[in-house]
């Protein structure tokens, strides 16, 4: 036995150990920006139905970079994101591969997926205005543009202008009105803030219930999470102190964004990953996935949860393409700095 073949055997044995960890028979490896407790129920359902195991690494940031550095040997098959910009970034870094699937094309409307199939939206959320029941009359505010109106001086709360959710909204303003006007608008909103941007969307609703401010920006699902929170009943009170305003119903519609998924370029379990993608876009998973976090299913005709029907109903959505929104995010971030939004 020469030294080479000896070495080869040794490597093969070691490799076996490494390999079992990453490409075992039936599994999908997921890098997830979404919190595990949100996605576990759907993934468990998938395993139950197909026998394919799912393995997850969850992190709030940096998974794109991890995937990029790991290159062709990366064990990851799918990336699940909680916003559009991470999907755009994956595409820009050439870390995805296109998926051709009739199921996905049928289930997901064109505006919520990449033309070439590099990423797919799975749920949608609306960026709403939360308005105090006591201090803001219904109909007093109906458009994002009005947030810059001096009548709201000292009455608006929001999270950091740099948060992806706000950047996405600001990027859509740039798409509709151009940079110069958006900057003016941001200056107006900034001048109306009751306090320095802080906390998450939930904290702003709390601030409204405490009388710190009268209006806030927030994603639709925060409302569902609060109004059903029996463990922290005070959150139900916060939710009850506000009306939900779906802005711009008379014109372009309310700003929407997605949580989504993309198949990685070097996915070792490609077929299983596509199965999971298709499953996630199917009727049952769409209901579960959306309901767990009170989001809207992307698949047309999926029943919405009772709660969403009760409080939100049907509304007009801004159908601006996600790709276009994504392209304005860096500019939005720059404007936020220029107007000193967060200081």
């Amino acid at each position: 036995m020469d030294i080479r073949s000896l070495f080869r055997t040794a490597v093969a044995v070691t490799g076996l150990f490494a390999a079992t960890a990453t490409v075992a028979a039936e599994q999908v490896n997921i890098y997830s920006y979404r919190q595990p407790f949100l996605i576990e129920p759907v993934l468990d359902k998938f395993t139950e139905e197909t026998g394919i195991e799912t393995k997850v690494v969850y992190a709030g940031k940096g998974l794109n970079e991890r995937l990029q550095r790991e290159g062709r040997n990366s064990p990851a098959d799918l990336v699940l994101t909680s916003n559009t910009s991470s999907l755009m970034d994956l595409l820009a870094k050439d870390l995805t591969q296109p998926v051709q699937s009739d199921v996905l094309e049928k289930n997901i409307p064109a505006q919520f997926r990449d033309e070439a199939g590099n990423w797919f939206g799975l749920t949608t959320r609306a960026r709403l205005i939360y308005a105090s029941k006591d201090r803001v009359k219904p109909g007093e505010i109906t458009r994002y543009e009005q947030l810059a109106d001096p009548k709201w001086k000292g009455r608006i709360c929001t999270r950091s202008g740099k948060h992806p959710y706000n950047l996405s909204l600001f990027a859509s303003m740039i798409a509709h009105h151009g940079e110069a006007e958006t900057k003016k608008w941001l200056e107006g909103v900034k001048a109306n803030l009751a306090r320095k941007p802080q906390g998450n969307d939930r904290a702003q609703v709390k601030a409204i219930s405490e009388g710190v401010c009268d209006l806030s920006l927030g994603n639709s699902y925060y409302f569902g999470n609060m109004i059903t929170n029996t463990e922290q009943p005070e959150q139900i009170e916060w939710a009850k102190s506000v009306n939900l305003v779906f802005p711009n119903q008379q014109d372009r519609g309310t700003h929407m964004f997605i949580s989504g998924a993309a198949l990685t370029k070097h996915a070792p379990n490609r077929d299983n990953a596509i199965k999971l993608l298709e499953f996630l876009s199917g009727p049952e998973a769409q209901y579960l996935y959306a309901e767990k976090n009170f989001e809207f299913p992307v698949r047309p005709g999926t029943p919405r949860s009772d709660l969403i029907n009760q409080y939100m109903g049907e509304f007009k959505e801004d159908d601006l393409s996600l790709t276009e929104i994504g392209s304005h995010v860096p500019a939005a971030s720059r404007l936020v700095d220029e107007v000193g939004f967060d200081f």
């Binding site: 080479r4 070495f7 080869r8 490597v11 093969a12 070691t14 490799g15 490494a18 390999a19 960890a21 990453t22 490896n29 919190q35 595990p36 407790f37 393995k55 997850v56 690494v57 969850y58 992190a59 709030g60 940031k61 940096g62 998974l63 970079e65 991890r66 550095r69 790991e70 290159g71 062709r72 040997n73 990366s74 064990p75 910009s85 820009a92 950091s160 740099k162 992806p164 320095k196 941007p197 802080q198 906390g199 998450n200 939930r202 904290a203 709390k206 405490e210 009388g211 710190v212 463990e231 922290q232 995010v329 860096p330 971030s333 720059r334 700095d337 220029e338 000193g340 967060d342 200081f343």
Partner: protein, 565 residues
């Protein structure tokens, strides 16, 4: 620094030490070097934009935060260390180890806890409103917890133990006779403290303080939660919302320059000072405090302990108990075990490497070794997630190169060997926390007079035997406290663990993060409580053995060795 050996001696056996020490330092410095490398390739030049807009805010917020935290931890850490080491008052023996406890509380957790307590809807303001009949927040003034002041308070409460631990070790290792001499020359206890003890403890205190400041600079969770926009907020923003990782790396590297300057300034300040332990303080001279002084001493220590540890423990315990049944999962055992094993491994490795590097630097203080060791320690000042990217780069590059080579040579693919494994996490911990253990060991080692080395070597021991028989017992306190701090730091470490871990792998910190990141304190309470409790064990065990025994060991050693000198 006076070299331990004459130049001729150094040349003969130098390579044996310089080479391995430089290699280790270089390996540990790889993540920081990777970030410097990244900084060479920004997507676009961010500086004009930053200068025009927010850079001034970032820098001023960073400076105010660092100054506030530095001042408070210095007062609290040195003051309490002096009290428990040199004075006798009720509860001293308890405070001696208990004052370390706040260290087991992660900064982001204490921030959540106090926000919960002190914000408008919290119990404190509710009680005040009930008492005084106020209706809304417009009826009264109450300090805003989510503010610069709040951030300074929170970080200080959990970081002062760094200064406390190192200052205390320094006070213990100081020889009592110098203080006694100062007293007999007419110094009051206060003058003796300010003019003798404090300057002698200065290197150790400086190490503690620099750890505090680096930790303050790398913090993101707390400042982000409190809407204090420091440079680390700028780093993440440039990386994530501007898609400019290189630019983010540039900001991170500039922060490091600031740290290096600070350290250099401190070094220059005590360039001519050098002091060694000449004889042991066998019996500690202590001032017995009576009356209001004793009460004040107990109250000060008690307050630190209460705010930094008692209150968080009670709040977390309350939440955990209230929802125990719904939040307890059997996975907790595995998760806690993961945390424990990872942290213990990292603490051990970091202590060993720290000792090697510090000793190597002592034997051969040549420029190469000194600057590499210094570089390796900078990882501590980097924000965790940036550091994690710095770990990813060399590991993934190594893995992919190995795999490509094997494919080419043997047609075998092994995939990724190190990245995405537990090794990556341990490596990240080592690279992040080496500063802690090396710093603690260096400050202990610096106090050992080189004549000990020379005596031991002239008696025929080689450098390893000298390390084992002479230095190890003398720096035991520093070594232990370094390992202890690294252990607790690893228990709390979040951003690097989160990003580098294998599939399905959780530590206590990553487990609670999925809830805490959404400001759901109640659901993360049980896990947070476990971090505190598991982190507590070694704090108690080690700190109890640390104090007295190191003094004894030192005394014994010097007695048995002294006649030979």
């Amino acid at each position: 620094m006076t070299p331990v050996f004459s130049p001729s001696r150094r040349r003969s056996s130098g390579l044996r030490w310089i080479l391995p020490v430089s290699t280790i330092a270089l390996l540990v410095a790889l993540p920081v070097l990777s970030i410097f490398w990244l900084a060479l390739f920004p997507e676009e030049n961010i500086w004009p934009h930053l200068l025009d807009t927010v850079l001034f805010h970032y820098i001023s917020a960073t400076l105010v935060l660092a100054f506030g935290v530095g001042l408070f931890t210095l007062l609290a850490g040195v003051g309490s260390a002096w009290l428990v080491t040199m004075c006798r008052f009720p509860g001293r023996r308890f405070f001696e180890w208990a004052l370390l406890l706040p260290f087991a509380v992660p900064a982001y957790v204490i921030a959540y806890v106090y926000t919960d307590l002190l914000e408008y809807a919290g119990p404190v303001q509710k009680l005040l409103r009930d008492w005084f009949g106020w209706q809304t927040s417009r009826d009264y003034w109450f300090p805003e917890i989510r503010s610069m002041g709040g951030a300074i308070a929170m970080l200080s409460l959990v970081l002062y133990p760094y200064v406390y631990m190192l200052a205390r070790a320094a006070f213990i290792e100081q020889c009592g006779s110098i203080r006694a001499a100062s007293r007999s020359l007419g110094c009051t206890p206060w003058q003796s403290f300010v003019r003798v003890s404090l300057p002698m403890a200065r290197p150790a205190i400086a190490v503690g303080l620099s750890l505090v400041l680096m930790e303050t600079l790398n913090d993101f969770g707390t400042v982000d939660f409190f809407a204090v926009r420091t440079l680390s907020v700028g780093i993440y923003d440039t990386w994530l919302s501007r898609g400019n990782l290189g630019g983010a790396a540039q900001i991170a590297c500039s922060t490091l320059v600031f740290v290096v300057l600070l350290i250099a300034l401190e070094r220059m300040g005590r360039a001519r000072q050098r002091h060694f332990v000449q004889s042991p303080s066998r019996s500690r001279d202590s001032y017995r405090l009576r009356g209001w002084r004793a009460a004040l001493a107990s109250a000060c220590c008690g307050l630190l302990l209460l705010c930094g540890f008692g209150v968080p423990l009670l709040v977390l315990g309350g939440y955990a108990l209230a929802n125990f049944a719904s939040y307890w999962t059997d996975d907790f055992f595995t998760i806690a075990l993961n945390s424990l094993l990872l942290s213990a491994t990292a603490a051990l490795i970091t202590a060993l490497l720290g000792l090697l590097l510090a000793y190597g630097k002592r034997l051969y203080p040549v420029r190469l070794v000194k600057s590499l060791v210094g570089f390796a320690k900078l990882g501590y000042a980097m924000p965790g997630a940036v550091m994690a990217i710095g770990v990813l780069i060399p590991l993934a590059a190594f893995d992919n190169a190995l795999d490509a080579w094997l494919r080419a040579q043997f047609d075998i693919s092994i995939g990724l060997l190190l990245s995405g494994s537990v090794f990556a996490i341990v490596f990240a911990y080592t690279a992040r926390f080496l500063a802690v253990s090396a710093g603690a060991i260096e400050s202990s080692l610096d106090k050992v007079t080189p004549s000990m080395d020379r005596a031991s070597r002239s008696l025929g021991r080689n450098s390893w035997q000298t390390l084992w028989a002479v230095h190890l017992p003398l720096v035991r306190a520093g070594l232990l406290s370094g390992a202890l701090v690294v252990f607790v730091d690893c228990m709390k470490e979040l951003p690097a663990t989160l990003l580098l871990r294998p599939f399905g792998f959780d530590t206590l910190a990553t487990y609670i993060y999925q809830f805490a990141s959404d400001e759901m304190l109640e659901r993360s309470a049980l896990g947070a409580l476990m971090i505190v409790l598991v982190g507590l064990l070694p704090v108690i065990l080690l700190s109890r053995s640390m104090g007295r025994r190191s003094g004894e060991a030192q005394a014994e050693l010097i007695e048995s060795e002294a006649p030979a000198l």
